[in-house]
């Protein structure tokens, strides 16, 4: 296999993976909106299964060490920005709510819970990786 066709295969398979998830998600939204939620979930999972099938089924490695490094950096940066934002916002929202200036939406409490769960999972994972 020539180098250009190998690189083209990598691009094609990666597009297929993204397309599979996108199709599953659009299928879910469409089916759900016309009153077929179970079909929607089935389509969603089919899209996810397609993603996994392409990823694991091809003989060409679709992601290399730089992809993984970029992914790790992006995850760490996104988590840091989100966590820091919530940590700074939390006392502000409590005070604004106490003085009846602004009541945060219920989603804010959900986000705080997500931060707490994520922090707990992080601590457990870090401990496991550190001391295993």
């Amino acid at each position: 296999m020539s180098s250009s066709s190998r690189q083209a295969r990598i691009r094609r398979y990666r597009r297929l993976m993204a397309g599979s998830v996108l199709a599953g998600t659009l299928g879910f939204i469409s089916a759900e909106s016309v009153g077929y939620p179970v079909v929607g979930v089935a389509l969603y999972w089919a899209g996810f299964a397609g993603f996994l099938a392409v990823w694991q089924g091809t003989s060409v490695p679709l992601f290399d060490e730089r992809d993984r490094a970029l992914e790790r950096r992006a995850i760490a940066l996104a988590a840091t920005v989100f966590t820091l934002g919530m940590i700074l916002l939390w006392p502000t929202m409590v005070v604004l709510s106490e003085i009846d200036v602004y009541t945060p939406p219920p989603a804010f409490d959900g986000a705080l819970l997500a931060i707490a769960v994520q922090s707990g999972l992080f601590a457990l994972t870090y401990g496991w990786l550190r001391y295993r």
């Binding site: 180098s3 250009s4 190998r6 690189q7 490695p61 290399d64 060490e65 730089r66 992809d67 490094a69």
Partner: protein, 67 residues
Amino acid sequence: MKNSVRERREERGLSQADLADAVDVSRQTINAIERERYDPSLELAFKLAAHFDCRVETLFDPTLDTN
């Protein structure tokens, strides 16, 4: 990190895609290494050095790093 990957690749008449295939990474990764935007793992550095039949420290030169 400063490196001579581009020079050595061009000396051998290889494209970035050819080199990428030889060391099992994407063409974009080779491009990022050549542009000093990505420092490869030890494993990949050794693979590149083996491919060019040279020592890692002659392919990558941390003392010239200006970043």
